[in-house]
């Protein structure tokens, strides 16, 4: 019964952080508690990783193939239960959450000096909410966690954020909140609609994923419900034109916030699409696929051009995420196993590379007190090892072979080529664009004549270890991606199966 513990550790850890600060202000205790809970979370996830069997299930049955489950009754009148379950997909995402949770705690070690306990309370609760999203398979519970992770994130941005281009962090936080809240509302309506459809067919209320998945829905209703889910996830992914909150939220969030936003919060959207949108509405999703892929293409190019035009280093990285998630969208809706596996890898790899880049911009900010690239330039020789790491992560972000990002992107493209060759050909041109905006970052920040001759504080041991471990993970993914692919194979096989059962499938 480890599943509830995965959920409880961050929540309890967060409360402890907060209480400790109330009892004894100005200690490092909250940091250590937060770190400990994250390590505990990671260790448990790794234990599940090693002990479980996530290989390809030969027969895809009608019941989902969960590795472990946990169920408690909750609101019987509406058939709502506290139902958690875990398969390869959720396990990968939870492990990622644990890893990035550690990064987030470590990278705020010096950056955050106000209300440390409350900060970690929020951080831990964001992570708890995300873990809940990855575990819940009762749709009501899923929605509960989906909304729950927003509130602490709002506080992280609003209370510990930075000003950017004259805008206060509170406005960015509000923007983030309204966008996600409004889209969450759409999802709630869709969930309720789905449940009522099921009720009218069977006379039983149920919010359970496994049961609702069997509900046949056709016609206009299926489009409306599917779009409700899609828009909710599209805001979070984000898909152009619903991306407006992302650059602001990223630019103004503290480093830990950005790391978690890019690393795991965005991934909840892709997870949602894979777990709910496709299997619940296979036919409609099938019919919707061309539109979704077009949106993906628009995202790749629009995000890329946007990234190129930024002057704020964190906004540049944020916009590049939009571009990268365009590939994810194309991969998801092409529906081949190869592309879906690529999606998983792209998500994990992007989490690392974006986290690395955000940590570096945080470290630059601590040293230079600006994120404006027009005031940088020529920093390569003045920062010790930091520019080397920056170079490595920039290369990862442009999909250099040897990094996980390359495998992810190329598996998506290889997989989708069978189904939609033209989309792939156009998307490939995005590789040039990603090279342009990535190298522009190097160019504006590190190359060129140095403004002063003095050296700036070099990386300390904590920062070095943080960047090095992220880099090692990125490269390990690029050279031995099977570690992840083997775990996700069963789950992706199932998604492919559900997506492919519809008769209109072309491939």
């Amino acid at each position: 019964m480890m599943l509830p513990w995965l959920l409880l550790i961050p929540f309890i850890g967060g409360l402890l952080c907060w209480q400790f600060e109330l009892i004894r202000p100005n200690t490092a205790m909250p940091r250590w508690i937060a770190l400990l809970s994250m390590v505990l979370l990671l260790v448990m996830a790794l234990f599940l990783w090693v002990s479980g069997d996530y290989s390809l299930s030969q027969v895809v049955g009608n019941t989902p193939d969960w590795q472990s489950q946990f169920q408690l009754p909750w609101i019987d009148a509406f058939g709502i239960t506290f139902h958690l379950a875990l398969d390869g997909l959720s396990l990968i995402m939870i492990t990622l959450t644990g890893l990035l949770g550690i990064m987030a705690v470590v990278c705020s070690w010096k950056e955050i000096d106000r209300r440390v306990g409350f900060f970690h309370l929020n951080l831990m609760w964001v992570i708890g909410g995300v873990v809940g999203v990855f575990l819940a398979i009762d749709l009501f519970l899923f929605f509960f966690f989906w909304e729950m992770m927003l509130v602490p994130m709002y506080f992280l941005i609003a209370l510990w954020g930075h000003e950017s281009e004259g805008k206060s962090p509170v406005s960015a936080a509000i923007k983030f909140f309204i966008y996600t809240q409004a889209s969450g509302l759409l999802m709630l309506v869709s969930i309720l609609g789905l449940v009522f459809m099921h009720y009218t067919q069977t006379g039983v209320f149920s919010f359970d994923y496994g049961i609702l998945r069997e509900t046949p829905i056709t016609g206009v209703m299926s489009w409306v419900l599917m779009l409700g889910f899609f828009i909710a996830f599209a805001v979070k992914l984000p898909v152009v034109p619903l991306h407006g909150w992302l650059p602001d939220a990223h630019a103004q969030a503290p480093t830990a916030g950005s790391v978690d936003l890019a690393g795991i919060l965005l991934k909840t959207a892709a997870y949602g699409l894979l777990r709910f949108a496709l299997p619940l509405f296979p036919e409609t999703s099938q019919a919707f696929a061309p539109i979704a892929m077009t949106l993906g293409l628009v995202g790749i190019f629009y995000g890329g051009v946007l990234a190129f035009a930024q002057t704020d280093i964190k906004r540049l990285i944020a916009c590049s995420s939009i571009s990268h998630m365009g590939f994810v969208l194309i991969g998801i809706y092409s529906g081949t196993l190869l592309a879906l596996q690529g999606v998983i890898l792209q998500m994990v790899a992007h989490a690392f590379s974006a986290a690395g880049l955000f940590m570096i911009s945080g470290q630059l900010y601590e040293r230079l007190h600006t994120r404006d690239m027009r005031q940088m330039g020529g920093l390569f020789g003045r920062l010790g090892a930091l520019p080397g790491f920056a170079l490595a992560f920039v290369m990862a972000s442009l999909g250099m072979p040897g990094t996980g990002n390359f495998i992810g992107e190329f598996l998506i493209l290889f997989g989708a080529f069978d189904v939609v060759p033209w989309v792939v050909v156009i998307a490939s041109a995005g590789l040039v664009l990603s090279a342009i905006y990535s190298l522009i970052l190097m160019h504006r920040v590190y190359w060129g004549p140095p403004r002063e001759k003095t050296t700036i504080a070099r990386l300390d041991g904590r920062e070095y270890a943080m960047l090095l471990s992220t880099l090692v993970l990125t490269i390990a993914l690029g050279l031995y991606p099977q570690v992840v692919l083997d775990i996700s194979q069963g789950a992706m096989h199932e998604v492919r199966h559900w997506f492919a059962v519809s008769p209109s499938f072309a491939g």
Binding site: G402, S428, W447, G448, P450
Partner: protein
């Protein structure tokens, strides 16, 4: 053969050691950087010994299963046959000499400043990637090397990053080659979709079974591969980056932008020659691109003032010859020319590096002059290298490879290509000896200090020997890998005649260069001073103004689009909602003015309106 993996491993280890210890003393960093390539070269010697002693057949060494999803199975596997052995030998052999020279060059160049270890880290990483490129047994692994060499090229072009311009040159090189890489990627998608594998040997086996000669799919696949090759090898229309790539340190130009990386495109086409044989139209295009490039580059080299840019354009033009050879299905000759070119072009670049250091970082040939008395060894090396580049008969290595290309182009019935190549050969000897006469003859304008030391002399002398007929005696073991090409139409007498013709053309070129550039150069000067002459000079100097064209057609529109999106107009549309809310808010809050008179009026008005409604309805 089980030590094959050591060849790339040593450079990789060297790169890692240097990358993580940037403050190693120069002496140790040099030892690590040069030593790792030396060890790789030793392994290469061993590979050669066992290869010639063995069955001459391809051997695969799988290191680990890289990716496996359904049919998509890519091994991290190395494949050694005659072709990859030739490439490995060039990369580690010539690479070692260049590294050795670089140890001298960088010490002189940096004068104790930082960056020595960084330089060798990049260089070692480059050799590692290049080895993976030629050893990869599937296209996926080849692509890893392919992008890796691009990265190292980028880093090394921008090595002197404090100069803004160098960084832009590096940027340009990366982006332009990346455009080619996209084509290569699409080619890989296409091949995988067709055959379900990316293993090169399997592809070469399956392709003729599935495709007929001239099938659309075959043409498309070949065209995509060609796109990749054109970008990496700086051929038309993606050639613009190479001349700017000279911003890097000179040993880099020798290793990456002459001897190895830029020939990767030639390797790729030779490696996948079966696909090109099935695509006659694309194959014709390969030859045509080669010819056009060698002519454009030849004219451009005539009108350069920077010694390295002359060499850069000559590299482009020599790779043009290799493409031409591929286009006329003279596969093995293309690789043979690749090898001799690696020798003499590395020699020329290293020597020019020696000259540049001797002349206190002066690169303008018109500011040198008369160096033959003071720089004896570089002069001799330049003469030997220049002779090989111009394919002067019998004594030079270039003669044997280039004349073979000319002859086979004619023999396989491509008369136009042959004519272009012959004219290119004429241009080559003119621009080569123009450079030599201007730099080493005439009035002395600068006081050079000659390079000293073994690290300086040994690479130059070894490469000089290899650039003579001695180098041409090395025959790459390509018989089992590359087919002989179609039957020729002509006999030996024709061949002899053509060879004599080519030799005469080359010598005439030298003569014309002597007439124009030895002495006072009055004729050239008066020509350039006319209006048309000046215009022509600038046109050639800019290599037919491709940069200008691309700037207008591609760069400016892109920058414009970038500016347009700076404010994210899609997002601005979303901001209409808060605007609407604010407007409504304004309307309503205006009614709460706090003035009694207003409230009373509204109340009365409201009451009357309600009453009226009640009465009327």
């Amino acid at each position: 053969m089980n030590i094959l993996f050591l060849t790339p491993l040593f450079p990789l280890l060297g790169a890692l050691v240097l990358a993580f210890n940037p403050r190693l003393p120069d002496r140790i960093a040099g030892l690590v950087g040069v030593g790792s390539i030396g060890l790789a070269a030793l392994v290469m010697v061993w590979l050669n010994v066992t290869f010639y002693g063995g069955a001459n057949e391809g051997v695969t060494q799988t290191l680990w299963q890289w990716v496996a999803v359904e049919d998509f199975r890519m091994g991290f596997s190395l494949y050694l046959d005659g072709l990859s052995l030739t490439m490995v030998s060039i990369i580690t052999g010539v690479g070692f000499l260049i590294h050795l020279f670089a140890a001298w060059y960088m010490r002189e160049d940096l004068e104790g400043g930082p960056g020595f270890a960084r330089f060798f880290a990049y260089m070692n990483l480059f050799v590692f990637s290049m080895l993976l490129l030629v050893l990869g047994d599937n296209l996926f692994l080849l692509y890893l090397g392919w992008e890796g060499v691009g990265l190292c090229s980028y880093l090394l072009i921008g090595y002197y990053y404090e100069n803004e311009n160098n960084a832009w040159c590096a940027f340009k090189a990366f982006i332009v080659t990346r455009i080619g890489d996209v084509f290569l990627a699409i080619g890989m998608f296409l091949l995988f979709a067709q055959f379900g594998t990316l293993n090169i040997q399997e592809l070469l086996r399956l392709a003729p079974e599935a495709w007929g000669r001239g099938d659309l799919m075959a043409e498309l696949a070949a065209l995509m591969l060609l796109g990749g090759a054109v970008g990496k090898s700086a051929q038309l229309p993606l050639q613009t980056w190479l001349a700017d790539a000279m911003a890097g340190p000179t040993p880099v130009s020798a290793l990456i932008h002459a001897a190895t990386m830029v020939t990767a495109g030639v390797y790729l086409i030779a490696r996948t020659h079966v696909i090109f044989e099935l695509a006659p139209m694309t194959l014709g295009l390969v030859g045509l691109i080669g010819m056009l490039t060698l002519l454009v580059a030849g004219f451009a080299a005539l009108a350069q003032t920077d010694i390295k840019r002359v060499l850069a354009y000559s590299t482009m033009s020599q790779i043009g010859y290799m493409f031409l050879a591929l286009g006329v299905q003279a596969w093995d000759v293309a690789i043979f020319h690749l090898m001799t070119h690696a020798f003499f072009k590395a020699l020329l670049f290293l020597t020019s590096g020696s000259v540049i250091i001797a002349c206190h970082h002066e690169q303008n040939i018109f500011k040198m002059g008369g160096l033959r008395k003071t720089l004896k060894l570089p002069y001799a090396c330049f003469l030997i290298g220049g002779a090989a580049l111009s394919a002067l008969p019998l004594i030079s290595a270039g003669f044997y490879s280039k004349d073979e290309i000319l002859w086979l182009a004619f023999d396989h019935g491509h008369t136009w290509l042959w004519l272009g190549a012959l004219f290119g050969a004429f241009l080559t000897s003119v621009y080569t000896f123009r450079m030599i006469f201007i730099v080493f003859h005439g009035r002395e304008q600068i006081h050079p200090h000659a390079g000293q030391g073994l690290a300086h002399h040994v690479p130059l002398i070894v490469l000089a020997v290899l650039s003579t007929f001695v180098g041409a005696m090395i025959h790459p073991p390509l018989e089992n890998v590359l087919p002989a090409g179609p039957e020729g139409q002509f006999g030996h007498s024709v061949q002899l005649m053509l060879e004599i013709l080519a030799a005469v053309v080359a010598i005439v070129g030298v003569g014309i260069a002597a007439g124009l550039f030895l002495g006072r150069r009055r004729l050239v000067r008066s020509l350039v001073q006319t209006k048309e002459g000046d215009r022509l000079w600038r046109f050639f100097n800019s290599a037919f103004a491709f940069d200008w064209l691309y700037h207008r057609v591609v760069v400016r529109p892109f920058l414009f689009i970038g500016r347009l999106h700076r404010l994210d107009w899609v997002n601005s549309l979303m901001n209409l909602w808060p605007g609407l809310a604010l407007m409504l808010n304004g309307l309503l809050s205006d009614t709460q003015s706090g003035r009694l008179r207003w409230y009373a009026a509204v109340m009365t008005g409201g009451a009357i309106a309600t009453l009226l409604l009640l009465l009327l309805l």
